[in-house]
Amino acid sequence: MNDLQQQYRLEEVRKVFGRHQIALDGIDLGIQKGERVALIGPSGAGKTTLFRLLNCTLRPTSGKIWINGEDVETLHGKQLRQARRKIGTVYQQHNLIPRLKVIHNVLAGQLGRWSTLRSLASLAKPHDEALVHKALDQVGIPERLFDRTDELSGGQQQRVAIARVMVQDPDVVLADEPVSSVDPALASTIVRLLIDISRDTGKTLVVSLHSVDLALAYFPRVIGIRNGTTAFDLSPENISDAMLEELYAGSGRENSDTEAMSEPANSIAYPSIS
């Protein structure tokens, strides 16, 4: 059952917060290595929670997840960190450290490989400047190496976050609403960037998108998620307007690029830790 070609395998995965807040309600899913998959669906459908399960930030309440044939349930401590190192995540809010220089935010991608001491030393004198140069060059902001990260625009910061994933060099790239806080023109540039990275290096790519148009245009496989479960899992040519309408029914939105800009952050946020 644990096919070597399989990046992810999920069986009957449920995630319940507290007692009654059901975020995921029985997801079955298999994703092959090197596949490129888009997730779409209304806010609160469970996409962010699904990502947090896929990158080992959360564990399912019930059900099973295999990553690369390995049962996630058995992973703790160092093994868990090793598993996480092979999964790169780009977030909607880019989630960089605003006060650190760009170079440190990008080099953070190496933390899974570095010892604690080495990572501390790098804050004083950055290891591997060339690597950061190359990554920033690829995402199109080569000259911002030593700027403080909060001096960059939102779109530039998202590129820094992508450069961080490139430096991390994982097997899988997950991107949770990577373009819903940038303008539409930049949105397709960034989606293309992610696709290029996946294509060049054979990385598996899973992206959730508010923009259905982008999902249908760029991904050979599109999964619709609604109420914590999969509504459909098809190639774009097999997805009808009726299916999309049903997917978003009652959520009061239209499926267009411009809509993506005004969409608020996912409403199933993790319960605040502060």
Binding site: G44, T57, L111, A161, N227, I268, I273
Partner: protein, 284 residues
């Protein structure tokens, strides 16, 4: 959609709580007023006015003679030295204990969820360390630095050393508590991102936690240093060196003009520390 329901935003029925709270507050206020023996009339009575007048007029003019000022130089310097060393020890105690006592670092929230779910032994161990750290911090700060100093003077003798130890322990307790609150207050999303790329707790701390907390961390530590300057003056009263010892001597001799001089020196030192810390914070 059946989720997520905004369960936290609840329409509260008309609550008695505010009235109850106001009543309790008034009760506490008047009761304290009575029991603390507060008596403003004393300022208007002849006896009280005479005593006050004697104290105040005795203070003027302050003793600014070169002889006295040069005598105060060493104790003033000592006070600064006690405050600096004391604060450094306090940071050395408060920082690690505050870190271990940070809820979101030790046991709770998204940075511990995957690690501790289904691992009761790990969870128990983490909780034990967490409570020990918080317990130590509470212990250190619940005993006033004055009492610490008193004990250390008995233990290691008169002089600045017991003052340094007293400030180190009492302020270590305060710093640690506030550090943990500062650490708990940072934006957790960047930390989640660092965790998800395989960083360990310490790496997350150095790359995410500490940089975000730095401004608050520095300004609170500097504020505590300012407090330590004042405190180290007071500690002299129990024999722990510095300006306090001089205040005590002058008070006992009824040389109130000397007391005023020392208070002025103290004020200038605190103002200087405040100025310095403003400069440091501006650099961040």
């Amino acid at each position: 959609m059946n989720l997520p329901t905004p369960s936290r935003i609840r329409q509260s029925p008309k609550s008695l709580f505010p009235y109850l709270f106001a009543g309790l507050f008034l009760l506490a206020f008047f009761d304290s007023w009575q029991r603390a023996g507060i008596d403003p009339k004393i300022f208007f009575e002849a006896r009280g006015q005479r005593a006050l007048g004697k104290f105040l007029t005795g203070m003027f003019p302050p003793d600014l003679s070169p002889a006295f000022l040069s005598l105060m130089f060493r104790p003033a310097l000592e006070t600064i030295q006690i405050s600096i060393l004391g604060t450094i020890i306090a940071v050395m105690i408060g920082f690690p204990l505050g870190l271990l006592g940070t809820n979101t670092m030790a046991v709770a929230g998204i940075l511990n969820e995957a690690e501790l779910q289904g691992a009761p032994l790990r969870r128990g161990l983490r909780y034990a360390v967490y409570f020990i750290a918080r317990g130590l911090l509470s212990l250190f700060r619940s005993i006033p630095e004055f009492v610490w100093a008193f004990m250390f003077v008995r233990a290691v003798g008169l002089g600045p050393f017991p003052g340094v130890l007293a400030i180190g322990l009492a302020y270590g307790g305060m710093l640690g508590k506030v550090y943990s609150e500062i650490f708990e207050g940072v934006n957790y999303r960047p930390l989640e991102a660092l965790q998800s790329l395989g960083a360990n707790k310490l790496q997350i701390f150095f790359y995410g936690w500490f940089p975000q907390a730095l401004p608050n961390f520095v300004s609170y530590t500097l504020y505590r240093w300012e407090c330590a300057v004042r405190a180290s003056a007071i500690l002299g009263l129990v024999g722990a060196g510095g300006l306090g010892q001089q205040i005590e001597i002058s008070m006992r001799m009824f040389n109130f003009n000397e007391v005023l001089t020392i208070l002025i020196i103290l004020f200038l030192m605190v103002a200087a520390v405040d100025y310095l810390s403003a400069k440091i914070r501006a650099m961040l």
